[in-house]
Symmetry: C2
Subunit: 294 residues, 2 copies
C-alpha cells in the first residue's frame, strides 16, 4: 500500500515508517522537519495547515496519523499548541482522507480513559481524560470516528499503551533512568514507584499499524497494549541491575495518570494482534541503543 | 464585576451580555465583529489568536466564554473550523484567564453525553459525543476543567439545554418553523417529531451565567436545562396554532442527537438555579420578536 506516516520525525512515527517499509509498503513521511532516515521520502509540512496536509495525503491509500504533541509535559505547558496540533491537525487529516479516499489509522492512547470505573478497562469503558495531552488526543480520535459515521471515512484508532523503544524522547522515564544510572547518579522515582504501566514496544505497535492498515475494520477504537504490567519501581530496579546506582523517591508529578489495567482482548479478536516483545528484551535492546549513541 | 463576554455578536452571547449589564456588571463584548448593541463596549478579536484573547481578558474579573462555532451544521461541514475555534479558542481563553486571574464560566452543552446509558442524565454520566460540534465543545470544557486542577483556574462549565429566544440563528428549528408557517408554507418535521428537547430560554441561561459568576464554586460542570421536555411535534403544533399551515414529515437529519432526559438537580443545589420561563411564554415572545423583525 501507499502509506503516509505523519510525525515521521518523532520516536513512534519513525519506528512505524521504518517497519512499514520493511513490510513492503511504499512509505512517505510527513513532518515539520526531515529526520534523515535512510531511504525514507519525506513531505515537509504542518498538520495545522489543511492545504499542506491534503497535498501530502493525495495519492496515498492510507495515512498512519501519528504526528502530535506527544510529549505530555509540553502539552501540559502549552495546551493551545496541543489543541492546534492534536485536534485541528487531526481534523485536517480526516478532511484530507475523506477528499482523497484514504484510510486512517490513528495513534490514540490508553490515557483517554481517565480514572478507571472498572478493570481491566475495555473499549466500552467511559472516556474521561483530565490532562491537555489525553483530552486533545481523545478529541482527535472522536473527530475521526465521527467522520467514519457521518462522512464514510475508513478509520481505526489504536489506543496505544505507553510506548518504549529505541529513539525515545529524552524526557521519558526510560531515558531519564538510563542516562542517570549510566553516569552513576541516583535514580529518583516520583511517587512510591508502585504505579504500573503496560509498556508496549514500538515495534509491536508498528505491527499493529500494519495489521490495521490491511484490515477492513472501520469506525472502532482498539486498545493496543502489552498485557504485562511493569511498575516504575521494577523498571528502575532493572536499570540498576545493569548500571548499579542508588534508588531514591520524590513527590509524584502532577498530572501523572493513575495506574489502570487495560484489556487487549478486542484487538486480538479483531486484528489478531498481541504484543510479542518481552519487556526484558525490549529494555535490554533500548539500553544497547543508548550505549551505541543512537 | 468586570466581565468579558466572548461571542457577544452571537445569539446567546448577546443575550448574556445584555442581561449581565442589566444586573449591574461592567460588561465588554468580544467577537469577530461588532453587533452594534446599544451601550455595549466591544473588543474585536479572534478566539484563535492568543495575543488578542489575552489583551481582551486583561483587566476583567471574569469571562463568560460563549464564543464558538455554535451552529451544529456548520461544525459538521467544517470540523477543522470547529476544532480551531472551540478547542484552540477555549485553550486560549483558559491561558489568558490563568495569566490575568480571571474566572471563566463556559457555555458547554447537554449534547456532550451522547447515547444515554441511564436517564435522567446527571453530571456523572459518561461523555461520548459523536459529532464535531459536541466533540469540540467537550474538548474545550475538559481543557478548562484540567486548568482548574493543574493551574488553579477558577471555572464552571454550564452544560446548556437547547437554547431558544429572540435572536436565534435562522437555521434553528424555531426560526425555520415560524418563518415557513408565517408565509403559509408547510412545516416539515424531520423524523417522526417524537424526539424531545429540554428547550431552555436564553434569559434563563443568562441568569445561570450570572449566578455562576458570583459563586465561588469551581472545577465542575453543571447541567443547565429546563426540566420540561417539549417534542419537536409539540413545537410545530404550537407554531401552527398561531399560524395555521400544513404539517408534513421528512427523513431524520444525520447527526441529530437522540433525545434524552437530563437532570438539572445539581445546579439547583449548587447555584440555586432553575429555569423559570414557561415554554409557551418563551415561544410567544420569540414569535412576537420575529413579527417585529428583531
Amino acid at each position: 500500500m501507499k502509506v503516509l506516516v505523519t510525525g515521521a520525525a518523532g520516536f513512534l512515527g519513525r519506528t512505524v515508517a521504518t517497519y512499514l517499509k520493511e513490510q513492503g509498503h511504499h512509505v512517505v513521511g510527513f513532518d515539520l522537519k526531515d529526520p534523515g532516515i535512510d531511504g525514507l521520502t519525506m513531505q515537509i509540512g504542518d498538520l495545522t495547515d489543511l492545504d499542506q496536509v491534503s497535498a501530502a495525503v493525495e495519492g496515498h491509500d492510507a495515512v498512519c496519523h501519528i504526528g502530535a504533541i506527544g510529549d505530555v509535559y509540553l502539552a501540559g505547558e502549552d495546551p493551545g499548541l496541543a489543541a492546534a496540533v492534536n485536534v485541528l491537525g487531526t481534523a485536517n487529516v480526516a478532511e484530507a482522507a475523506v477528499r482523497h479516499g484514504a484510510r486512517v489509522v490513528y495513534a490514540s492512547t490508553w490515557e483517554v480513559y481517565g480514572e478507571p470505573r472498572y478493570q481491566p478497562i475495555d473499549e466500552d469503558h467511559p472516556c474521561a481524560p483530565d490532562h491537555p495531552y489525553n483530552i486533545t488526543k481523545l478529541a482527535g480520535e472522536s473527530l475521526l470516528l465521527s467522520a467514519a459515521r457521518l462522512r464514510g471515512l475508513e478509520t481505526v484508532a489504536l489506543r496505544l499503551g505507553t510506548a518504549y523503544g529505541p529513539g525515545l524522547r529524552p524526557n521519558s522515564v526510560f531515558r531519564i533512568f538510563i542516562d542517570r544510572a549510566r553516569r552513576g547518579e541516583p535514580i529518583t522515582i516520583q511517587g512510591d514507584g508502585s504505579q504500573g504501566r503496560q509498556f508496549t514496544h514500538s515495534r509491536d505497535i508498528a505491527r499493529a499499524f500494519d495489521l490495521a492498515l490491511r484490515s477492513d475494520v472501520s469506525g472502532v477504537a482498539l486498545n493496543t497494549v502489552a498485557t504485562r504490567t511493569v511498575t516504575i519501581r521494577e523498571l528502575a530496579e532493572k536499570v540498576v541491575e545493569r548500571f548499579p546506582t542508588e534508588l531514591t523517591f520524590g513527590p509524584p508529578r502532577p498530572g501523572d495518570v493513575p495506574p489502570a489495567t487495560v484489556s487487549a482482548a478486542r484487538i486480538a479478536d479483531v486484528l489478531g494482534w498481541e504484543a510479542q516483545i518481552p519487556f526484558e528484551d525490549g529494555l535490554a535492546d533500548l539500553i544497547d541503543h543508548e550505549l551505541a549513541g543512537d
